[in-house]
Subunit: 387 residues, 2 copies
């Protein structure tokens, strides 16, 4: 097996299409010149389609965490109270960032195998009527749970005052792979990254702001400079970023967003659901326990509980080294207890067949009772039903 | 002329060698896996050679400004006093960031055509004995001035107390193109970026810390998360970054640093000095006024004052569109008054000949009296003397 043939089935960074890599290899252009400004404007317009918003989308050179910090530092002042949905590692990250920037953080901790119940949000806000913003995770890639952002947005109202706190959503591991109608659902801010469903190497992060959030920028008192979204807005008016952007990744993003547009967003979402259903059927057929319940099952990543007696980390190493598929482990307290199969971005049904076959080989080699081909067959059944 | 043939002679981002672009196109790897950890450790070791330090170098996904902010937010607490050398736009940026993060900023403004006089630093510190850190620009790319960092470092002592405030240096547009012996010169922190002399696309920024600066990390009280260098240090111990790094750019950086090591740092510095001397000789031969005096002349970028009556911006457009070389304009108050020729990174003497030839063609076309070939010939004279 060639090292470069290892199939990356982790929840990001994800494989980059050859077409996108070729775009990334274009000669670097002047980030203050006319050629870049045209590129920047086109990409910004393409991004509006993906976020389904008419608002501004800031293109930040940084990891997804940079975009999360930008949302916190620009929308919350020190001393203000925020409610954070903590259903996994990335929910916890919202809480950590908010605390680092001086917010009073109320953590809503719920079962990591499930999402946040929308009805409960209303009750929590009734108990904390001075919450100015709710921070949520669209797709919790640490657990394979997808939250119902539309329902959470609708439920977000303080009954006693009728006021709606801002809803700020981390859609790093969902945007482009699962529906998110920012304007229609009245989500105030959405952050994302290049390296998941958007099929671009890591290094670009995104912050989309609705009108309520945009209006907050001037009011917020918080230390910020590199991630000051006012500077991005001002530069964007000229078709530029405020600082030197990752030009090669912007070239890549333009190409990847063109690919998504050619496929069509609805078809991209359906492809992700198909991959999820194939993986879940295959895992079930192998008798492995799915970590996440049906209702919350993510279309971009599936978490599998390590069966009794299986050394999950040794299993992952074996599957990578001997059978050519790289799976992700658990993070934080789930380390060694689950493995995760990424099925997002530049991937399709045949990749799910490959992943399941490699998992079967690994399980058999580890002495776990498995009927070779049974997971693959179950996935094929799902595929054939999709027509 | 093909659009992709335009020669980018701006002070960054700079052209990327094909070999580096091929490395950037390698398949994306798991940023938490063994393959990436080996890459990360190798790149970190290579970077230590470039910074000439045995200290830690944090690899941050972001523009150079992100690294500047990291230095400020991690080394200065709100209310502390800092002295900022303001000799151009990037000196001013240090001041802006320091103010944004609550520092009391003392600006030392000096003539933008010159560097900071080391003797004067001692006098300034005597007048402000409570300064905790001095922020300086190694190479001011907005003006083509290179500061004498070694002398500034030696002069940095508060006479009355014998105390040395931290010296924090922006070497974004010099590192790899001009000597910077961080440990030997006792510089406490140096920030840089991938897209200048290091020949990598923009998107990675670097912060190297000496022992005094590293010791400050725990003491500093300032809001920070994405750029909290404690998180980078902790992750680096595992051979990782704290958040998803720009994997393709790390691949590129590994290759570019290998190229620099093959050339040898001293030869790379000499190549940049040769390019500077060729450009300056050519510009002088054409009768154009150099913006920066000989003593401070940068080896990576040369600023040229627009001669009387020349529409600098129209001239730049013409040289790009008709003659295939992209020059930079002036920034801020220098906009329309100067143009800048970048000669850093993946460039050599023949590129200087091309740049001067295109400048000559443009001047002639604009009606400026110029003897075609005279600038080129002067540059060739310099080149031939270098042997």
């Amino acid at each position: 097996m060639f090292e470069e043939q290892v199939q990356l089935r982790i929840p990001g960074p994800t494989p980059v299409p050859p077409r996108v890599m070729r775009a990334a290899a274009k000669p670097i252009v002047n980030h203050r010149g006319a050629v870049f400004r045209e590129l920047y404007r086109e990409v910004t317009e393409q991004l509006r389609q993906i976020f389904q918003t008419s608002g501004d989308v800031a293109l930040i050179t940084g990891s997804g965490t940079a975009a999360m910090e930008a949302a916190v530092a620009n929308l919350v002042s020190p001393g203000e109270k925020v409610l954070v949905l903590c259903g996994g590692k990335f929910g916890e990250r919202w809480a950590e960032i908010a605390r680092a920037f001086g917010a009073r953080v109320v953590e809503w901790r719920y079962d990591w195998r499930q999402g946040a119940e929308p009805e409960e949000l209303a009750a929590r806000l009734a108990a904390e009527p001075d919450v100015v913003a709710v921070f949520a995770t669209h797709n919790e890639s640490s657990t394979g749970v997808m939250n119902d952002i539309r329902a959470l947005s609708a439920a977000r109202r303080v009954a006693s005052t009728g006021r709606r706190p801002l809803l700020v959503v981390d859609s790093v591991s969902a945007l482009g792979g699962a529906p998110l109608a920012m304007d229609e659902w009245e989500v105030d801010a959405v952050v994302s990254g290049s390296q998941k469903c958007l099929m671009v190497p890591p290094g670009l992060s995104l912050v989309a702001l609705g009108p309520q959030a945009a209006a907050r920028l001037e009011e917020t008192r918080n230390h910020r400079y590199y991630l000051d979204l006012r500077a991005y807005r001002k530069a964007a008016a000229k078709g530029e970023g405020p600082y030197t952007p990752a030009v090669s990744l912007v070239h890549a993003l333009q190409e990847a967003l063109s690919m998504l547009a050619e496929e069509g967003l609805e078809k991209a979402y359906a492809r992700h659901r198909l991959m999820r259903d194939m993986i879940r059927a295959g895992v079930k057929a192998l008798g492995l326990p799915l970590f996440t319940g049906e209702r919350w099952a993510s279309p971009t990543v599936t978490a599998v509980a390590g069966p009794e007696g299986l050394d999950v980390e040794a299993f992952r190493r074996l599957v990578r080294q001997q059978f050519g598929v790289e799976l992700a482990g658990g993070q934080g307290e789930l380390s060694g207890r689950i493995f995760r199969i990424g099925h997002m971005g530049y991937a399709g049904p045949l990749d799910m067949i490959s992943a399941l076959a490699a998992i079967e080989q690994g399980l058999a080699k580890m002495g776990y009772p498995v009927q070779l081909g049974s997971g693959v067959a179950a996935a094929q059944e799902v595929w054939s039903r999709w027509g």
